[in-house]
């Protein structure tokens, strides 16, 4: 089997998931933690790293389960329930493993893991992967790219919000309001990348 074109497609999908089709700025997935946990760069980094890891792994797991179990049994409509169970179980497992073997990582990422189960970006990426009919290798690229895109967006936002802390903002716009406006500007900036992948 020649994997060359597969891998290059996975690479393109990955880059476009980071920049032009950013899961947060173009598809609005994972907005709640994005608004809630973006006050400090440090916590944002932790959450972002956890999202990259969980998103990549659950995308792969869900691909395997969808194509080797659900499609064979003709139970595609069952995917919502199965995906969410897999995500929840995976997150729980990672939490236990980290707690047992790596207290350092557990301290860094552990608190964010329960939050991730309800992060729509994770389920959303799995659903997109099914709708767009990606192959397994492309799915790896897509999962990693989406996670990385989310990570970049929340990092940038946390950096901006730290600078913003001392500024005078109209009372009604404080909190979510100003964050949404910044997110809009970031989405505009990320739209500028769309030329990078033109002609694909």
């Amino acid at each position: 089997m020649n994997l060359g074109p597969e891998i290059s497609q996975a690479f393109i999908v990955c880059i476009s998931a980071v920049f032009t089709q950013n899961i947060l700025l173009a598809y609005f997935l994972g907005l709640c933690p994005f608004l809630g946990v973006s006050r400090e760069v440090k916590t944002a980094t932790g959450l972002g790293l956890a999202v990259i890891f969980v998103l990549t792994s659950t995308c792969m797991l869900n691909w395997l389960v969808y194509h080797y179990i659900l499609v064979l049994l003709g139970l595609e409509f069952f995917r919502f329930i199965l995906f969410i169970i897999i995500i929840a179980a995976f997150v729980q497992l990672v939490e236990m493993v980290l707690d047992r073997y790596s207290p350092f990582l557990y301290q860094k990422l552990g608190v964010f893991l329960p939050l991730i189960t309800v992060n729509c970006a994770i389920l959303g990426a799995s659903l997109f992967m099914v709708i767009r009919d990606y192959s397994f290798i492309v799915t790896i690229g897509y999962g990693f790219g989406s996670g990385l895109g989310w990570f970049l967006a929340i990092m940038a936002m946390a950096g901006i919000r730290q600078k913003l802390a001392n500024d005078r903002i109209p009372q009604g716009l404080q909190g979510p309001g100003i964050t949404l406006i910044i997110a809009g500007l970031m989405a505009l900036a990320f739209m500028g990348f769309s030329g990078v992948l033109q002609g694909r």
Binding site: L25, A26, Y27, F28, L29, G30, L31, C32, L35, F77, F78, R79, F80, I81, I84, I85, A88, V118, N119, C120, I122, L123, G124, L127, F128, V130, I131, P170, Q171, G172, L173, G175, P176, G177, I178, L180, I181, A183, G184, L185, A187, L188, M191
Partner: protein, 206 residues
């Protein structure tokens, strides 16, 4: 009882509005606000899911062990979402493709989980049902405002029908309004306006 019902209604629609007070569950639905028709369908789906799953969670609240509560709630929500998804696929396939994965994403919509946790867990079914219903309605009306603004400014139409001034040659269509950034800007402005009302009212009552 009367005043309790009234409190649920006013909390859901305004005082504790899911979007501009709780800022929950905007993820999956902002994406479909570029067209009013999509938003209406999405809102109906959300109203159905939220009110019924809150009622179901509340009916089962005495039989659910505490430590697997979240999982049970997710499964109940997923059940209703699957019903919505299958009905859409069967009777309105174009709309189903338009909405893409966003119908399925109602499962992880924080407002559904949030209301099941905050209200369905403690209160009797009728109360939870009303709470879910009015939270969903409060959520929907803000989204419908956003969708109307985006469609009108971005495409010059309302529910697909061209509007007199906005679709004419005098109106240069704001493409950015139908693109993703438009959703963020519109939601920010709507939040700003509604919060300002609140702040003014609070200042007056002081």
């Amino acid at each position: 009882m009367k005043s309790e019902t009234r409190k649920i209604i006013s909390d859901g629609l305004w005082n504790n509005n899911p979007i501009f007070r709780q800022v929950l569950g905007i993820c999956s639905t902002l994406a479909v606000t570029n067209l009013l028709a999509n938003t209406v369908v999405m809102c109906v789906a959300l109203i159905f899911t939220l009110s019924l799953s809150a009622a179901t969670v509340s009916m089962l609240r005495r039989f659910t062990p505490r430590n697997i509560r979240m999982m049970v709630e997710t499964l109940i929500i997923a059940f209703y979402v699957i019903v919505v998804d299958l009905v859409l696929k069967a009777y309105w396939p174009e709309m189903s493709t338009n909405l893409g994965p966003y119908v399925g994403l109602i499962i992880t919509n924080c407002i559904v989980m949030g209301r099941c946790e905050a209200c369905g867990n403690i209160n009797p079914p009728a109360h939870s049902f009303l709470d879910g219903l009015f939270n969903a309605l409060g959520y929907s009306f803000v989204l419908l405002i956003i969708a109307t603004i985006r469609e009108l400014f971005g495409m010059g139409t309302f529910l697909g029908y061209p509007m007199p001034y906005f679709s004419g040659p005098y109106w240069d269509k704001w493409i950015v309004m139908v693109a993703p950034p438009g959703a963020f800007f519109t939601l920010a402005v709507v939040t700003w306006v509604f919060r300002s009302f609140e702040i003014r009212r609070e200042n007056k009552s002081k």
